[in-house]
Each structure stands twice: as C-alpha cells, then as structure tokens.
Symmetry: C2
C-alpha cells in the first residue's frame, strides 16, 4: 500500500481544504480577472484605461469582472465627481494578499511551459 501523501506533507483534507481551493479558483476564474488584477497592481486605473490596457475586453465583460472583484473586496471603486464622471479602480490591501498565489502560479506556469517545450522537442527529435 503506497501512500504518497504529497511529498511528506499532509494530503489535501477533502472537506474544507478542497472547498477553499475551489473558492479561490472561482474568484480568480473568468477570462480577464487575472489580467485586470495584474494591471491594477501597477497602480490605480480608470475604466477607460483598463479598456485600453487589457486589450480585447469589451465594456460588458470589464464591467462584470470589475464588479465581481469588488464584491470580493479585491479592488475598490471610487467615483470622482468630475465633469463627465470618472471612476477609479484600485487594488485593495486585501487584493494584494493574492500576491503569493499569483506568484506561485506564475512561477509554476513558466516552469511548465519550459517542460512542455522540452517534451515536444524530445518527441519530435526521436519520432
């Protein structure tokens, strides 16, 4: 009977751990959320700024993603009483707590891309 137990750490406790991971995944899921958070990590942005920087997103999606991020407290929305009305979005302190996760994911993803490339090269070379 082999027990891997995830290296030598505890395995994922099915009931609560897994649910927590799914919660995080749900919050981060959506085609643009990561990108938006990334953009806001550089500083505050207005709606229009995000439209330009995210590039490819539509106003509906941007609005929706922004709302979901705000509901979860990851970003803040501030309406400026200027003339045509401007709105500033900013990453909250709470939103910054995602940094460890995002960093791990970026790290793993880059590593993975290298691995995949190596795998393909090997197959092509030997095939």
């Amino acid at each position: 009977m082999k027990k891997k137990v995830f290296i030598d750490q505890k395995p994922l406790q099915c009931p609560s751990q897994l649910r927590a991971i799914h919660d995080t995944m749900d919050i981060l899921s959506g085609k643009w959320k990561i990108t938006i958070i990334g953009c806001l990590s550089f500083g505050d942005k207005r709606f229009m700024d995000l439209m330009r920087e995210v590039k490819g997103i539509g106003s509906k999606m941007l609005s929706k993603e922004l709302q979901e991020l705000e509901i979860n407290g990851l970003i803040s929305r501030t309406v400026q009483p200027t003339k045509p009305v401007t709105v500033e979005y900013a990453l909250t302190t709470y939103g910054e707590t995602l940094r460890p996760i995002l960093w791990e994911m970026a790290d793993w993803g880059q590593h993975h891309r290298i691995k995949v490339k190596a795998t393909f090269s090997g197959e092509v070379g030997s095939g």
Copy 2:
C-alpha cells in the same frame, strides 16, 4: 502618482507572468480537476475508485479530466493486464509540484471565507 507595486515586490510583468498564470489556471480549471488531484494525493486510485470518491462526477467528465491531467503530466495512467482490465491513476512527481500553489489557494480560500462571514455579520448586526 501612487504606485502600489504590490506591497514592495515587483508588479506582475504583463507579457510573460500573466500568460504563465493563465496557463496554470487553465490546467487547474474544470469543475473536477482539483478534487481529482486531491483524491490522488492520498494514493493511487482506479477509475471506479475515483467515480465513488469524487461523488457527483460522471464517467465522461472523469475520463476527460483525467486525460487532460495526464496530458499535462500531472498524473500517470497505468493499465494493469488483469482480467476485466484495471487502470491505475497516480499523481506524478511533477503533479506534486502543484502542492505549493494548492496550499496557498487553500490557505487564502479559508481566510477569505472567514472574512466574508465577518463582513456579513457586521452588515447584519449594524443594519
């Protein structure tokens, strides 16, 4: 001009970092992948075992998710030449490299759940 720069670390580098994060998200996305990985973190499992343990998943989805996980090298699939044929799925060493990510996500998710609960309590209490 306020630059938050994500605490005092570098912000997410748009081109490569973001793409890497999305790669990771894609690999982990899907309603059952996390759960399957969690199950396999306890040890090897057969198809039928996973059907029972994941609970709620159908054979089509399980098969599909398993294939995707295998393609990415996260799990291994071993056919045993027994009588009615049995297949063993196991988390690979590479799959275990996801542990830091999953752990961070579990941690954050649990923290978040507590925060959300506190927020609701506060609103209910003061409203």
